[in-house]
């Protein structure tokens, strides 16, 4: 899985590469638009992360060239410009997603994983499982260690998301967007409360905890050695 980052600000580029590499991606970083476009057109990459303002050719131009060459590589834009026209412009040109600076790395990582998953067809699952936690998608039932657990509809949706993306750190904003369709920055602590209540039902009565808080970044569902 090879990712291309085209970002002219050295610090941002370095940190992005380090973060994505450590998250298990094979990452290449270039700082100018011209080289970026050459590499992007090679078709070797699973995802392009483009800054809009670049020396040489800007992000839009690279995107146009890539789409013009018939490549459907997913493209994620990073932009410091938060103008509506920019978004419309980018999406019209065929960008798949965009993030406005300043953004959280956990948010970027979650979006990157979403985009990469989008391409691959997921088999129709009937149930999701982690350790002794089982979620039956058809009967909409949750069991842990054989015990039936009653969840509200939103709690079920939240757990389903955590299970589908187990091992990934999910930022609060992504959870709000995916589970409640709240697509805006909000400083409310609803998500914290919702997670706490889910924990109460899923984890509290069991010795090995599955829902973990990653401080300052979000939540992750995974089995950790005791």
């Amino acid at each position: 899985m090879k990712l291309l980052i085209v970002e002219d600000q050295p610090k941002t580029g370095q940190y992005l590469r380090q973060g994505l590499t450590e998250a298990g991606f094979n990452t290449e970083l270039v700082a100018d638009g011209t080289t970026g476009q050459q590499l992007a057109l090679s078709g070797d990459y699973a995802l392009l992360i483009l800054d809009v303002m670049l020396p040489g050719r800007d992000g839009w131009q690279i995107l146009q060239a890539v789409r013009g060459a018939g490549l459907d590589t997913p493209v994620l834009f990073l932009t410091a410009r938060d103008a509506v026209e920019d978004r419309v412009h980018g999406l019209e040109l065929g960008a798949d997603d965009y993030l406005v600076k300043p953004f959280a790395f956990s948010e970027l990582l979650a979006r990157v994983r979403s985009l990469l998953r989008r391409g691959s067809a997921t088999p129709q699952e009937t149930s999701l499982q982690l350790a002794d936690l089982r979620l039956d998608l058809i009967r909409r039932r949750v069991e842990r260690n054989g015990q039936r657990i009653d969840l509200t509809a939103k709690e079920f949706a939240l757990l389903e998301m955590l299970l589908r993306r187990q091992g990934e750190v999910l930022p609060k904003s992504l959870i709000a967007s995916q589970v409640w369709d709240m697509n805006f920055d909000s400083d409310t602590n609803v998500i914290e409360v919702a997670i706490r209540r889910l924990r109460l039902k899923i984890d509290d009565d069991f010795p090995n905890k599955l829902i973990h808080t990653v401080r300052g970044m979000g939540y992750v569902l995974e089995e950790r050695p005791a």
């Binding site: 300043p102 805006f184 920055d185 909000s186 400083d187 409310t188 209540r197 401080r215």
Partner: protein, 449 residues
């Protein structure tokens, strides 16, 4: 071409008016005096005609010429011509009588060789159709001179009075327009440093009072916006200073000597929290800046407000249950608007309401459809907000609870300002009322079809 100044324009208009009026009066006067002269001449000539007829009647021959000369000598400026019925000139009293004279009966005026005559034609014998014709000529040159002098006088008066009114008018206009000059002096003195200058409205003439009032109101609004803007910049610096100084201090202290790994991790986590708070603040401020520049462009999608409210209430349900606050929604309405933006606006209101509702309290959303639009009220039970704080609620960085005043709390105090911007971008208004244990945020949205 330079436009004429207002006072010059008025002065010229005054002058033109005076000229027209005095010209009219002058023409009228000269016409009247001319008519008067004609009347006098007619009377005189009629009298003479009677005398001459009598003189010519008495004597049919002999000393006729002498009698005629005698009769005529009593009036030096009078001459006589007699023409026979077949058109022959029979008699001229003086050689200076012009050759060609009008033949028509009655009075006419003739000018010959620098002399003006009033001419009266009449038959000698009234009862004979072939009677010789008498033509009386009265020299009226001195009359005409008088009339001409008068005309000159009239033109002079017209010119002089126009000039005088132009000068007086200029002076009058200038002093009449002095309040305007004062106004422009104040206007030109207005700058970012002196937005507190105002026009004395009471001293203004009624015509200008309205304008002065508008001008002052404009200055007031400008001053207010400017104050807010300055305060906003100061607030931004202030809000960022606390987390920045935390970051600096914490990082420097951490780095002063070697520490266990756990301490570094803790320091980074702490920094991360400050940074996230700052990022949220910057994003919120950018959003508000966009709103200020009119760049918030709400989409227009059909929305069922009841449905939207329910979705939000479901979102806040865990929080409300934890706080033992009852959430409810009442009423329906549909509208055109931007779903995401309105959700954000309502979410800020609900979040706010939940924070200030005591355990066991209630938060209600009421939607009312009205002919002119709709209203949506978010109300919560609780202590309420004191009257004098209500107008400040929508100010940026304003926090009602003093405990959270300084930075580092999770709320930057921009939520209500953002809500207001979103509602305004939809053409609506939001206000707050607090009374009898309930605090209400009332959104009024116009109907747009």
């Amino acid at each position: 071409m330079r436009r004429l100044s207002l006072s010059n324009r008025l002065a010229l208009l005054f002058a033109a008016c005076t000229a027209v009026v005095s010209l009219f009066a002058g023409v009228l006067f000269s016409r009247a005096s001319e008519a008067h002269f004609v009347e006098l001449d007619q009377q005189l000539l009629d009298d003479k005609l009677i005398g001459l007829r009598r003189a010519l009647d008495d004597i049919q021959a002999g000393d006729a010429e002498a009698r005629l000369a005698d009769e005529l000598s009593r009036q030096a400026d009078l001459s006589l011509r007699i023409i026979s019925s077949d058109g022959q000139r029979m008699y001229d009293s003086s050689p200076s009588v012009p050759k060609d004279l009008p033949r028509k009966r009655g009075l006419s005026t003739v000018s010959d060789d620098g002399t003006d005559y009033r001419v009266l034609n009449a038959p000698l014998f009234l009862d004979k159709p072939d009677s010789p014709q008498l033509t009386l000529l009265l020299d009226i040159t001195h009359h005409q001179h008088f009339l001409q002098r008068m005309q000159h006088l009239i033109w002079l008066t017209v010119g002089l009075s126009a000039l005088a009114t132009a000068l007086l008018g200029a002076w009058a206009a200038r002093s009449g327009l002095r309040p305007l000059l004062r106004m422009s002096a104040v206007a030109s003195g207005v700058s970012a440093q002196s937005l507190n200058a105002r026009l004395p409205e009471a001293d203004m003439p009624p015509e200008l009072a309205e304008m002065a009032h508008s001008f002052n109101a404009m200055l007031g609004r400008l001053d207010d916006s400017f104050q807010r803007l300055s305060a906003f910049s100061a607030d931004i610096a202030h809000e960022l200073r606390t987390p920045l100084s935390n970051l600096l201090t914490h990082t420097q202290v951490t780095l002063t000597r070697p520490r266990p790994l756990e301490d570094y991790r803790e320091a980074l986590h702490s920094n991360l929290e400050e940074l996230q708070w700052m990022a949220q603040l910057v994003n919120d401020m950018l959003y508000l800046a966009k709103a200020d520049h009119g760049l918030l462009m709400p989409k227009r999608e059909p929305l069922d407000l009841a449905e939207e409210a329910d979705v939000l209430l479901e979102f806040f349900a865990p929080l409300a249950e934890d706080a033992r606050v009852k959430l409810s929604r009442d009423g329906h309405a549909s509208m055109q608007g931007d779903r995401s933006m309105l959700r954000r606006a309502l979410s800020n209101l609900l979040d706010n309401a939940l924070r200030f509702t005591p355990a066991g309290g209630e938060v209600r959303v009421k939607i009312v459809e009205k002919p002119a639009g709709l209203s949506l009220t978010v109300e919560n039970s609780g202590e309420g907000i004191s009257e004098d704080l209500v107008p400040r609620l929508f100010d940026r960085f304003y926090r009602a609870d003093p405990a959270r005043r300084e930075g580092s709390s999770e709320h930057a105090g921009l939520g209500l300002a953002i809500t207001q911007s979103i509602i305004r971008a939809h053409g609506g208004q939001i206000r707050c009322e607090s009374a009898q244990g309930w605090t209400r945020f009332i959104i009024e949205l116009p109907r747009k079809d």
